[in-house]
């Protein structure tokens, strides 16, 4: 039954995306523009700058790709919740036979699936068009991706919780994403930050996701060699997911009590 619901949600989101033709095309134009900017930035800096022993363009490619995947997934999910509040769909969805928590998880999976496709296209274009050199260990990539997805799911659920509770999910996501962009090492290695900021960066789960994906995709490190990164990612996922779900459940109950489910 759950797969049937997931199929229905994926189909809804795919049809909606495809029928927003201009948005669909602009996403792909945006991907190539961004990649071109990073390519020429890395050329301007020169080949002597090799953070972590890898060329700067592939370093940027993975860092910005994984960062964008996280932020855009949470953003897409948040937009879906906001739109549902504005049209009144959220109230109706909450009266279906599907438990609200299940509905939220399935909807966020759909949001992440769309952005996962974007990430694959982004990385593939970087390799095929801009000649980024990779030495991938696909098993390690898959493990990083699965653990990162669990964290991204929690992030999306937290954004939705804040949207339902205070109607301020977008503001918080904006604040978080600018802070995380600076701290996560998407553009430069976190080791170049002052020591206190580096320690702060080590408390950000996205830092491990980006580092993990770079190690797996650019250096071809094995699962065994990446055990500490996987442990850190798994630790974040195990703590964040149940907390996010409990917070969501509480905020939905509070909204039903106060009659604010469709407030935006």
């Amino acid at each position: 039954m759950t797969t049937d619901k997931l199929r229905a949600i994926l189909r809804r989101d795919l049809l909606t995306a495809v029928r927003h033709r201009s948005g669909f095309v602009m996403t792909f134009v945006g991907v190539f523009t961004e990649l071109a900017a990073f390519y020429f930035l890395s050329r301007a800096i020169g080949p002597s700058f090799r953070p972590g022993g890898v060329e700067y363009f592939p370093f940027l490619l993975v860092g910005t790709g994984v960062f964008t995947f996280f932020v855009m997934s949470a953003q897409a999910f948040l937009s879906a919740v906001q739109e549902a509040q504005q049209t009144g769909t959220l109230e109706v969805l909450m009266t279906t036979s599907t438990e609200p928590a299940e509905l939220v998880i399935l909807s966020s999976i759909s949001a992440f699936a769309g952005n996962l496709v974007n990430l694959v296209i982004y990385l593939a274009a970087g390799v095929a068009v801009f000649r980024a050199s990779i030495h991938a260990n696909f098993l390690s990539c898959a493990v990083v991706l699965i653990l990162s997805l669990a964290i991204a799911l929690a992030l999306g659920i937290i954004a939705a919780t804040l949207q339902v509770a205070f109607q301020k999910g977008a503001a918080l996501l904006g604040l978080l994403s600018s802070g995380i962009w600076f701290l996560s090492g998407a553009m430069f290695p976190v080791e170049s930050l002052p020591r206190p900021l580096e320690l702060l960066a080590r408390a950000v789960p996205l830092t491990y996701a980006i580092e993990g994906m770079r190690s797996a995709l650019l250096e071809g490190r094995s699962v065994m060699a990446m055990a500490s990164t996987f442990a850190a990612l798994a630790g974040f996922a195990v703590v964040m997911l149940p907390l996010a779900l409990a917070a969501l459940s509480l905020s939905l109950r509070r909204a039903r009590q106060n009659g604010t489910l469709s407030f935006y």
Binding site: L93, T98, E99, N258, L261
Partner: protein
């Protein structure tokens, strides 16, 4: 056994003024939406909720659907409490809300119904047939494959009713269901309501339309400022005119037609 039971239900909405309220004049305080309301509805019964704007009709329907939770008392549907067994309640209830545009605009009518039917756990093998049936019953078969962003108000309203019917609920909640419908569609809809009641569906219908109340109702619940003023059977052949006089006599509101 009664299918919907309200026991001493209270519901109020609190308004917190904005943080920088000196910039505007937002009112704080609370609105009492329902005060000590108690009633029950059985299978095959059509209960009409009448009352002026803000009397608590929509709040009553939302409490049954679990969109809202009561502050005091209890609401039970099919023996299940809406606070503690919300999932079991939702499986039994279908609601057509007054918010007409609660659909996904870039999906067709059929695609919207397929989506909601999946979430309502309508078996896959029955889904296509059920959707065809409700689209026909609601007069939308010709617009089934039109994107709903192109729909008129009346078509949205019909689609809302179709969505509520597709899960074949044992309790059907309708909030001003014919507000934007033309005369022929309204007459057809009233016949559909009576047919559903004959198949043991419990129906609660909020309306301002006395003709509608007289045409489909078995019983009448009159609400005024959150309080229940009347809960009585509708007599066989009771006219819309008789209902109208009862309404104004009981609520104490002024009927400008007789001035």
């Amino acid at each position: 056994m009664d299918r919907v039971v309200f026991e001493s239900v209270d519901k109020k909405f609190r308004h917190r003024p904005a943080l920088f309220n000196w910039l505007g004049k937002e009112r704080g305080g609370e609105t009492i939406a329902l005060k000590n309301v108690a009633f029950s509805v059985g299978p095959a019964e059509v209960l009409v909720l009448l009352g002026p704007n803000g009397s608590g009709k929509t709040t009553t329907l939302k409490l049954i659907s679990t969109m809202l939770l009561p502050d005091g008392g209890s609401v039970r549907v099919g023996g299940f409490d809406t606070q503690h067994d919300a999932g079991k309640v939702r499986r039994q209830v279908g609601i057509a809300v007054a918010a007409e545009r609660s659909f996904f605009p870039r999906l067709s009518a059929r695609e919207n119904l397929e989506f909601f039917a999946a979430l309502d756990e309508v078996p896959r093998r029955e889904r296509a047939q059920r959707i065809n049936d409700v689209l026909r019953d609601c007069g939308l078969d010709e617009q089934a494959d039109t994107l709903v962003m192109k729909f008129s108000s009346g078509m949205y309203q019909r689609l809302g009713i179709a969505r509520a019917l597709v899960k074949r609920p044992s309790v059907l909640l309708l909030d001003e269901p014919t507000r934007s419908l033309d005369a022929a569609t309204t007459a057809h809809f009233w016949a559909t309501i009576r047919a559903l009641a004959a198949r043991q569906t419990t129906i609660l219908l909020a309306t301002h339309n006395f003709a509608e109340a007289a045409a489909v109702g078995d019983r009448l619940l009159l609400l005024h400022r959150g309080e229940m003023l009347a809960n009585r059977s509708l007599g066989e052949g009771e006219s819309a005119e008789a209902l109208r006089s009862f309404y104004f006599r009981t609520t104490g509101e002024i009927d400008e037609r007789v001035l």
